[in-house]
């Protein structure tokens, strides 16, 4: 089944593996796409996708059986760390990180055979169709419906905030298949080809001026019944199966690297470290991020030991995202008047874009479970406070 000869990366020493990954990234990743303070578009990154695909590295988390690298947690963390160290942009990779593993776990053999190889090759690019206008934090309130008629589902409704839908070929959807059942109960998980007639995609511009997310409308969209993953009305369980690892990834301490590097360079160029007031604020944030790395490391150890992540991992997301935001705020402030000028410009010989990192960090406390929702989770399930 394996498309590439299986190399046992897990048998390598960590340092050797890290070295190999690092030098591959350094040699092959396009320089102009390093540390992008925005989502990369498929037209820019498809060459890199192919490079990884040909190397057999496009799906580090997938087993050999499906053409992945088969990395266990420890090696997986090294791989991700090296990606972020080098400032490698995340393409529309939800097929690799989310749908692929979901299909492996819940899909039929036919679904696996059809979708997995195409997802790896980039022939199929996935976007996530969960949120709706009235189902954001309260995702279980989703109303997009799928009704069975003969051998098809008829889908009607609207998804919103769908990241990179306009770069995708397919969407994985949560839809309501039982209107009578309570909230989470009547939801199913479908895989839909975006070319199907009745689907309209409208990009939405964000405050940074980029069209990165979209609205996706479904108007009597007829899809075959075999696009259902898992059982009818059990889509909630299917979708939630992965949240643990995703939450760990979202707390990666390296994401703020671009902003931190720029702030440090700016501070040196402008002599800001001689100013104890600035130094104090800079070091506070730098330590916030270093301590985040320590917290992250604890969770990594837990994953390596094969223990499931608990609800407490929400702390990681809150701290990672909020520290990132504080950092970008200090960057804008340290720029003074220059900090509010759009685009990259030269400050004392350093090329800096102040506003893009600031904009990019804004929604980090909104998507993937808002900071408020994460705090609710911690207070309820970890501190066990009465509701």
């Amino acid at each position: 089944m394996a498309a590439v000869p299986a190399i046992d990366y897990n048998a390598m020493r960590d340092e050797d593996f890290r070295h190999q990954v690092r030098s591959f990234f350094e040699t092959n990743y396009p320089e102009q796409l390093r540390f992008l303070p925005r989502r990369v578009r498929m037209s820019e990154i498809s060459g890199w996708w192919n490079t990884l695909y040909e190397k057999g590295w496009i799906a580090p988390n997938w087993p050999h059986e499906w053409g992945g690298m088969g990395l266990e947690a420890g090696k997986m963390v090294i791989f991700l760390e090296e990606m972020e160290r080098h400032g490698i942009a995340r393409p529309a990779d939800q097929g690799i990180t989310q749908v692929g593993p979901i299909i492996m776990k819940y899909g039929t053999q036919a679904q696996k055979d059809h979708y997995l190889p195409r997802t790896r090759s980039g022939e199929i690019i996935w976007c996530q169709g969960y949120s709706e206008p009235n189902a954001g934090s309260d995702l279980a309130n989703l109303q997009t419906s799928a009704v069975i008629e003969g051998d098809v589902f008829i889908v009607n409704g609207q998804k919103i905030w769908t990241t990179l839908a306009h770069d995708s070929t397919h969407i994985y959807l949560l839809v309501r298949t039982d209107k009578e059942a309570k909230k989470q109960k009547g939801i199913s998980f479908l895989l839909v080809d975006l070319q199907t007639s009745g689907i309209t995609i409208r990009p939405i511009r964000n405050i940074a001026g980029h069209e990165e997310f979209c609205e996706v409308f479904f108007d009597d969209v007829r899809v075959p019944r075999d696009v259902l993953v898992g059982k009818m009305n059990e889509g909630w369980t299917v979708a939630k199966a992965l949240l643990g690892f995703e939450r760990l990834n979202i707390g990666s301490p390296r994401r703020p690297q671009y902003a931190l590097m720029r702030l440090e360079m700016l501070a040196r160029a402008k002599g800001l470290f001689a100013d104890t007031g600035f130094l104090d604020r800079f070091i506070a944030i730098k330590l916030d991020l270093e301590d985040l790395a320590a917290l992250y490391g604890r969770y990594v150890e837990q994953v390596k030991r094969g223990e499931p992540l608990g609800q407490d991992v929400s702390s990681l997301k809150i701290w990672a995202m909020e520290a990132w935001q504080r950092l970008t705020e200090l960057l804008v402030e340290a720029g003074a008047e220059d900090g509010v000028i759009e685009g990259a410009h030269d400050i004392a010989g350093v090329e800096i874009d102040f506003l893009s990192p600031f904009y990019y960090a804004r929604p980090a406390t909104i998507y993937g479970g808002s900071s408020e929702i994460q705090r609710n989770i911690l207070s309820k399930y970890v501190l066990e406070l009465p509701s």
Partner: protein, 374 residues
């Protein structure tokens, strides 16, 4: 009677922003190098606002900062892009405090009516709060001065007809007037977060005839410092307008957006967040009315600078914080360009950085307080 003026002004600003401008106009002018609409500007002139701080003898209203702040706050609430503070307070203020009566008689009435737009080009380095760093050369010759050097971060530069330039000669500071089209001047525009621009103005042997020198030496320094402090206070009032509207939008949204079967405003986490923002806005309101009143009593320069810094520090921090949190409270929709919350955040960012941010002003406040003690 200031309170009578205040009530009238409030009404006319409210009337203007409901009828004379709207968000579609604000959005259409984003990135437009002119930044404003001449017709709207003239209307603002007819209403007397452009001459609000200009003495009556020069065709203005001769009102104080308390009244000026009412106009600035009202315009900022509606995100009006026209450079009211930059022209009517900063440039007109510096000119009005200058010593060249003939020049004032020529220019101030035109500024007040809206027929000529002035911008003050004083700053050369990011983060500078006063004239100390000014290095642009004014070299004297028979008939006046030649200017050489570069000014940065000039607000209202794009649409200005005339620049008031702060330059340095061997004899001290010089405030000189140059027409936009004069030879030896070139203007580059840098796009700002809020769709407006900072101008970078380069002077190369630009000639200023003697009769176009507004003030020199200590008179120039005095006029510039006063105008900077006043504009800093009025920019704080603008921030107050921006934060007030952003907070209102957020609280309204909390009342209408339903998740988990109830308005999100019923969640205590968000309630407390909104209350904290409200406290910031109330602090800003309180410090503004106290500070503006004190400024209208014409305190000595050191005291004046300290008050201006206190206002700018509070209003910048509160404005940016409320702008940021407005997005958080709105969720994903707050992150879209179509929704107005982001426009408020961006205007707050720009106003907070313009004329010195909160940290810089707290520093200046501390330095002035220590000086006053010793």
């Amino acid at each position: 009677m200031p309170s009578e003026h205040a009530a009238l002004l409030k009404d006319s600003v409210t009337d203007f922003v409901t009828r004379g401008t709207d968000m579609a106009r604000v959005r259409a002018l984003r990135g437009d190098p002119q930044e404003y609409d001449r017709a709207v500007w003239r209307q603002m002139g007819e209403l007397g606002w452009l001459g609000i701080a200009i003495p009556e003898t020069y065709g203005g209203m001769g009102l104080g900062l308390t009244e000026t702040a009412i106009v600035a706050e009202g315009l900022a609430r509606a995100l009006v892009p026209e450079p009211f503070t930059a022209c009517a307070v900063l440039a007109a203020g510096a000119l009005a405090a200058s010593e060249n009566e003939a020049l004032k008689g020529d220019l101030l009435p035109a500024i007040a009516s809206g027929s000529r737009v002035a911008a003050l080009a004083w700053q050369e380095q990011a983060g500078a709060l006063d004239a100390a760093h000014i290095a642009l050369r004014a070299t004297p010759f028979e008939g006046g001065y030649r200017l050489t050097g570069t000014k940065r971060y000039v607000t209202g530069a794009a649409g200005a007809d005339v620049y008031l330039v702060a330059a340095r000669s061997d004899a001290g500071l010089v405030l000189a007037c140059l027409d936009r089209g004069a030879s030896g001047i070139s203007v580059d525009l840098e796009p700002l977060a809020d769709g407006r621009h900072f101008g970078t103005i380069t002077f190369e042997d630009a000639v200023v005839p003697r009769e176009r020198v507004a003030a020199s030496g200590s008179a120039a320094l005095g006029a510039l410092s006063r105008a900077l402090d006043h504009a800093t206070a009025i920019a704080s009032a603008e921030l107050y307008g921006v934060m007030s509207r952003a907070l209102e939008m957020s609280v309204d949204y909390m009342k209408t957006r339903v998740q988990f079967g109830r308005p999100i405003g019923s969640f205590q986490a968000l309630q407390h967040r909104a209350v904290d923002l409200y406290i910031q806005q109330q602090l800003a309101a309180a410090v503004l009315s106290e500070g503006l009143r004190e400024l209208d009593e014409k305190p000595a320069p050191q005291k004046r600078a300290a008050i201006a810094s206190r206002l700018k520090a509070r209003c910048s921090d509160a404005g940016v914080r409320i702008g940021r949190e407005a997005i958080q409270i709105h969720g994903a929709i707050g992150f879209t360009d179509e929704y107005d919350a982001g426009l408020y955040l961006k205007r707050a960012l720009v106003l907070a950085a313009w004329l010195g941010n909160a940290t810089q002003h707290r520093r200046r406040y501390a330095a002035l307080a220590l000086q006053a003690e010793s």
